[in-house]
């Protein structure tokens, strides 16, 4: 099965995380992604977290993960001849996507107006940190900045301590996701109407709907959401948190809402004497005495592993889950294994490697991880030769002139 998006071609100028993750999604479902990389260095994530700690532009762990299934060509975009090659590629592509600051694509003559002259129904996506217009258009942005500006960072942590922020990069995830969706949606519209369009996507704006409830609490009630540790503002629940278990830095989360769940929880713990203390009789009372309750719960969890806590509580109908680390997810999570989540694919230099599968299963067009990430410039001959029709001599000449 080729994947639902087979036959579509994307010219992909994005780099680092958000942009490449948006085109990864299309690659998984069969679209051909031609990743344009700067000659010599390539996407700088190529040099981050190297596989087996050996140096090389083709060994980046994150890069391999996020650019799987794509083709790579190299171009020295400062050279007018490289820009000319891109102008010849554009008519063969359905989508052109970039995550540069405003001005770069214009400088190369690849802004939307120019792209449209090359292909009238082209879809162009600009995936920037803060959008193409407005006073801060073009400001440098990374996950940590955008998350800070969205309010997420301030919301994460214990109320009596400084905020700790998000563990990794949330805005890259939501931005990449929004970019993939915008491209798909523009394709749908083009099929119906024959018209392309320009999409101006601000990663900050794509992140904010995730915080809609907190923002509305402010716009409607004037209340400033604040960090709540692992507790649940706006809905009474107790116990509700992460509890230390046996072992080094081992944790299990537990969430108890209803009276029936509380009874089941007490039963699961063998009805300890403190369970009938009036301090814990109702959810309101438990929320009031949550610190004390948490200490008692932790006395029980501390003698067990996270999996023991989870399995035992789940068998009594209580929501509980071991806090998974990366090695757990890959090596020890039976659910993920049963679902066939981790898949293997070949990489030309790294050999057979693991990749994450897709977070949803499509019954008719499942998509696939076809191959690992491309070597830097691996597909120059394919793209410039077979696709553009350049002769081997011409390609050799461009290589010699350091254009590709």
């Amino acid at each position: 099965m080729e994947g639902a998006l087979a036959g579509l071609r994307v010219l992909d100028f994005t780099w680092v995380l958000a942009g490449p993750s948006s085109t990864r999604f299309l690659a998984d479902h069969g679209a051909q992604i031609i990743k344009v990389e700067q000659r010599g260095t390539g996407d700088r994530v190529r040099q981050a977290v190297l596989a087996d700690a050996k140096p090389g532009v083709n060994r980046g762990g994150y890069f391999n993960c996020i650019n799987r299934g794509k083709l790579s060509i190299t171009l020295n975009m400062g050279d007018p001849r490289a820009q000319g090659l891109v102008r010849r590629l554009v008519p063969l592509c359905d989508i052109v996507v970039d995550n540069f600051r405003p001005g770069i694509m214009e400088r190369w003559g690849l802004d939307y107006e120019n792209l449209r002259r090359l292909r009238p129904d082209i879809i162009a996506l600009s995936l920037s940190g803060m959008g193409r217009t407005g006073p801060y258009a073009g400001y440098g942005s990374f996950g940590p900045n955008l998350q800070a500006l969205s309010g997420i960072t301030y919301l994460t942590g214990f109320p009596w301590r400084d905020p700790v922020g998000f563990g990794y990069s949330y805005s890259d995830y939501t931005g990449g996701w929004a970019g993939a969706l915008a491209m798909l949606q523009a394709l749908h519209y083009r099929r119906r109407t024959g018209q392309g369009q320009f999409v101006d996507l601000s990663q900050l704006e794509a992140l904010l709907p995730m915080l809609g409830v907190g923002l509305m609490d402010l716009t409607v009630n004037g209340r400033q959401a604040t960090r709540a540790g692992n507790r649940l503002p706006g809905q009474p629940a107790a116990p509700h948190g992460a509890y230390r278990c046996r072992g080094d830095d081992q944790w299990c989360v537990i969430a108890v809402f209803t009276p029936a769940e509380w009874e089941a929880f007490c039963r699961a713990l063998g009805n300890p004497p403190w369970a009938v203390d009036p301090k814990f009789a109702s959810v309101t009372a438990r929320v009031q005495h949550q610190d004390e309750l948490d200490r008692l719960v932790e006395e029980w969890t501390g003698q067990r592993t996270p999996d023991q806590v989870m399995e035992h509580l789940q068998s009594h109908g209580v929501a509980a889950a071991a806090v998974r680390e990366a090695p757990d997810l890959i090596d020890r999570d039976p659910q993920l294994r049963e679902f066939g989540f981790w898949v293997e694919a070949d990489h030309p230099e790294l050999g057979r490697r693991l990749y994450e599968g897709m977070p949803f299963k499509l019954s008719e067009t499942p998509g696939a991880v076809r191959r690992g990430s491309p070597l830097l410039g691996e597909h120059n001959d394919l793209v410039f030769g077979e696709l553009l029709g350049l002769s081997p001599e011409e390609i050799a000449g461009l290589k010699k002139a350091e254009v590709i």
Binding site: A4, R44, D52, A53, G61, N64, C65, G131, G134, G140, P144, L146, A148, G151, F158, P163, V164, G165, W177, L181, L184, Q185, Y189, F198, V199, D200, E205, A206, P209, L211, G212, G214, L215, M216, D217, L218, V220, N221, A225, A228, G229, P233, D249, V253, G317, A319, A321, A322, V323, R324, A326, P327, L329, I330, P334, Q335, L336, F339, F341, L362
Partner: protein, 423 residues
Amino acid sequence: MPDYSRTDTLLGPYRVLDLTSELGLMCGKMLGDLGADVIKLERPGGDPARNRGPFYKDQVHPEKSLFWFAHNVNKRGLTLNIRCADGQELLKRLVTTADFLIESYAPGFLESLGLDYEDLSQINPRLVMVSITPFGRTGPKARHKMSELTMWASGGEMYLTGDPDRAPLWISLPQAGLQGSLEALAGAMVAHWHRENTGEGQHVDVSIQEAVIWQLMGTPIGLWACHGENQQRRGTMQVQPKATYPGAGQCKDGFFTGGILGGGASLHTVRTQQGLVSWMDAEGRATPELKGYDWRRFDGRSVTQEEADRLAKPILDFYKTKTVRQIHEEGVVQRRMTTAAFYTAKDVLADPQLQARDYWVKLEHPELGESLTYPGAYAKMSETPLKFRRRAPLIGEHNDELYRGELGLSASELALLKGRRVI
């Protein structure tokens, strides 16, 4: 067949039946933003998600939940009890004209009612049906009891968030159901593409646990499986092979981030550090070492603890004298530093960039006698702008319009169904 003449929005010609709980409400909302006719089906008396706070002016009432408002914009509302035979019959009639059906019931529930994908696709082979569950529909955890916290923990994100000496953390607003919704929408769009090409519908089975893993952006595979490093919680610290140093800190009236030392010699980092040092210098606070430092040569992987401490201390002290506003106006705007203060929700609302781009949307709530402000579109599309057409539906608000107007039920039939708690 869909009415293809409605081309002013992306999904104008298409209809969505939304049978989700809080695990999937956002998926239908976003389909509605794209112009689809989304019909939220609630049980008679109203959806349980209406009981989730916060509430409009703290009035605890099923028509005043802000959680409900935020996730049900652009939908129409029907009440329907699908647990009874008459309700199932009505649902099947609705399915004949639907293009998408999204649901987030426990695995096996719809099957037990004869409403699984197999059943519904026989009524409408073009149907794209999306199921959102915490762990997918099969496997040992498929029937685990879940909450936001358990999904967040199971997907590996929680372990990465927080301080190393304390409990792992979530962020203080529910997210896992939203992530499941995003993936559900992506799956639905791929299935829609295939359907429009071939006429064939299909089933999309979304696991929220896996959606949370995707949000780790390659940490399990890229960092652990390839590189052999199991990322730990580190609060706001940068943990490098030879040194640990702050990536954020306190300012006069809040907090800031900006990679005090960055993590490598990227252009942003160099410009930020040079801008910072010249700002410090202008106020006589730059140490000779900072002034002479070649930031292009800074490498987080080789910097020693002693050097990191020496560099960080005057920088941290300097930021303590600056307000959130100063960091933004002098640091970000004037000196083009890639730094940012930790915005509170209030700061986000006041942000001039979002205002200049007309980000915020006002929707009228006639029952409340006012308009409420919502976060806006996630992308600006030149031909098919996302539109916010209507506030979330009231309980059964469109029962007449759809059951009578479209399915052709009479007023007395409707009253009877209502009396029997079918609708």
